[in-house]
């Protein structure tokens, strides 16, 4: 026991080093940087395409932001978010969350994390915190790129909302950021589903595909009127309600319901991952 006395002070209860290491792992990985670049490419495409042609309406589902882009550049961000919501943003979150545990299991680093040791519930907490922060980063990449390019190409100024009311630029910008934050919460709840799926397998790609299928199936079910009784419980049902934040007065019903659903999914699936992973034999 000669080593005991040269040990540093006893174990700390809280440390942000694991989370920071996790974020560095996510954001320094080239694959993920490429993914974020793809997310940023959409607002670039939208703004350039609109600039080069005269716009005539756009999305059929959800709020139509395309028509307003030429009037206020902030709409580039909203139009891009709408475009990326069905696939690109869920795919990005699915890639990160699917990789979170399964990726470590796949290359074997999971057993070394656990023998450091890292408590299993702490591992899941930190992994999920990183997923939440990535969801926020992914939405912000789209939003900020959209805002910057939109303002550069189409200018800012006061904003005519979907309900026809005009608000000042500051108010408009705040609403766009609010919408973006709401979507980050929605995507983070998908990330909890992803974390759970990731504890089921050692194949990160398989996990990612399963998570994308989950969100896509949710979108599909949401578009089938015959199962309307199911709609309020679907993860993605209220995602497009972010458009309500661009009305005056703001209609909070959809967004509020969306946040409830998101928090419920996040809590249930985090607990499921804990129940699954807490007692799992790690043989990878």
């Amino acid at each position: 026991m000669s080593t005991v006395d040269v040990l540093p002070a006893r174990a700390r209860l809280v440390s942000t080093r694991f989370l920071r290491s996790e974020l560095a792992l996510i954001f320094r990985r080239r694959r993920n940087q490429a993914g974020l670049a793809v997310l940023a490419a959409v607002p670039i495409l939208v703004s350039v395409a609109v600039k080069l042609s005269s716009p005539h309406g756009g999305g059929q589902d959800g709020p139509d932001f395309f028509g307003s882009i030429t009037e206020n550049g902030l709409f580039v961000a909203l139009a891009s978010l709408t475009l990326e919501l069905p696939l690109f943003l869920p795919l990005a979150v699915a890639a990160i969350s699917g990789d979170s545990v399964a990726g470590e299991a796949n290359i074997g680093t999971l057993r070394y994390l656990l023998t450091v040791p890292v408590d299993r519930s702490r591992l899941l907490r930190v992994k999920y915190a990183a997923i939440v922060l990535f969801s926020l980063a992914a939405t912000l990449v789209v939003t900020v790129t959209g805002i910057v390019l939109g303002l550069a190409l189409f200018g800012g100024g006061s904003m005519t909302l979907l309900s026809g009311v005009q608000v000042g630029f500051g108010d408009g910008l705040l609403r766009v950021l609010l919408a973006s934050g709401y979507l980050a919460v929605c995507l983070a709840s998908l990330g909890a589903v992803g974390l759970f799926v990731s504890t089921l397998t050692e194949q990160p790609i398989g996990a990612t595909i399963a998570i994308v299928m989950f969100s896509t199936a949710s979108f599909i079910l949401d578009s089938i009127p015959q199962v309307s009784w199911l709609h309020p419980y679907l993860l993605t049902h209220n995602w497009l309600a972010f458009g309500d934040l661009l009305r005056d007065p703001i209609s909070w019903t959809g967004v509020e319901h969306g946040i409830y659903v998101a928090v419920a999914y996040a809590a249930v699936f985090w607990l499921l991952s804990w129940a699954r992973f807490g007692a799992k034999d790690v043989t990878s």
Partner: protein
């Protein structure tokens, strides 16, 4: 400190119908270098995973350093290398160790860089610290895994096949590293399929065979359990074997250029005399305790180095 560094009681693991580890009572004394032997698939790695809390036992108990095993509190005093190295391929060796150090609640951030570099230096990887892990050779990967156990002082090291993939020079270095750690008071449990290695560095040995711990004790105890052997080197091994059987030696077998058998109560000089008397040229003669390898083969009934 007389408490065992590792003690298990009736430790058992079943996967479905298959019993991977069958009620073993491991006892690793504090300060020992314990060689954990067994052919591939005999349950060594599953046992090690249970010691470290990676796999939950079906039944039985584990205690490490006098405490119940599997808790984070006791595991932070245990350094482990389990079933080969595993690191993030696109991070450098140094970044990989920094990550492992970052997740450890018992280490100090301010000294992290110094400790990481000291660990890299101790295994001779400092020059390759900034290289990506994917560019490392198998031997370098193995060294990095060993370095990861040295990031902070440990009371117990669990090393699963630590010399796998190392060249003879690297093997010798690991052996001397284990020796110096043991000298500092660290208890070491090392699993290996290279018996000669275990023989050289271990004070204690445990032998696994199809999920059971078939022998355990100090190296001397294990050897003492078996009788001395006589070996006659000759160009007529079959004839010599026949003579030895006639004298009453047991388990006599002829190999290329030699015949060996357990002496039982036969006096060794009689063997030579009998051979010479019957015209068998004796080119060499040796009486000795069996090597650990012979003990092992006797215990498990199979060759050790199954897949080379």
């Amino acid at each position: 400190m007389t408490a065992a560094a590792v003690a298990t009681a009736g430790l058992t693991k079943r996967f479905g119908h298959q019993t991977a580890v069958d009620s073993i009572d491991l006892a690793v004394p504090t300060g020992a270098v314990y060689g954990f032997l067994g052919p591939n698939g005999s349950g060594k790695t599953t046992t090690i995973r249970m010691l470290l809390g990676l796999v939950g036992p079906t039944s039985g108990e584990v205690s490490l350093l006098g405490r119940p095993g599997g808790t984070t509190e006791v595991l932070s005093r245990v350094g482990a290398l389990v079933e080969g190295p595993a690191f993030h391929p696109y991070l450098s060796g140094r970044d990989n160790l920094s990550r492992l150090d970052a997740v450890d609640l018992t280490t100090d951030r301010r000294s992290s860089r110094r400790r990481v570099d000291a660990a890299l230096d101790r295994v001779g990887l400092l020059a390759a610290a900034t290289k990506r892990y994917r560019a490392y050779s198998l031997g370098m990967r193995q060294r990095l895994a060993i370095a990861s156990t040295l990031l902070r002082p440990r009371d117990l090291l669990v090393l699963d096949e630590p010399t796998n993939g190392l060249d003879p020079q690297g093997t010798r270095e690991v052996r001397s590293l284990v020796g110096s750690l043991a000298h500092d008071g660290t208890t070491v449990l090392v699993s290996s399929h290279l018996l000669s290695e275990v023989e050289q560095m271990c004070s204690h040995v445990g032998v696994m065979h199809v999920g059971r711990l078939v022998a355990q004790g100090t190296v001397a105890e294990l050897r003492a359990g078996s009788e001395p052997e006589a070996r006659v080197e000759t160009d007529q091994p079959e004839v010599a074997a026949e003579i030895m059987r006639g004298l009453g030696l047991l388990d006599v077998h002829a190999t290329h250029g030699a015949a060996t058998g357990r002496l039982a109560d036969v006096a060794p000089e009689k063997v030579v005399a009998a051979c010479v008397h019957q015209g068998v040229p004796v080119l060499g003669f040796r009486v000795g305790s069996p090597s650990l390898e012979d003990v092992f083969v006797a215990l498990t009934g199979e060759g050790f180095d199954v897949n080379g």
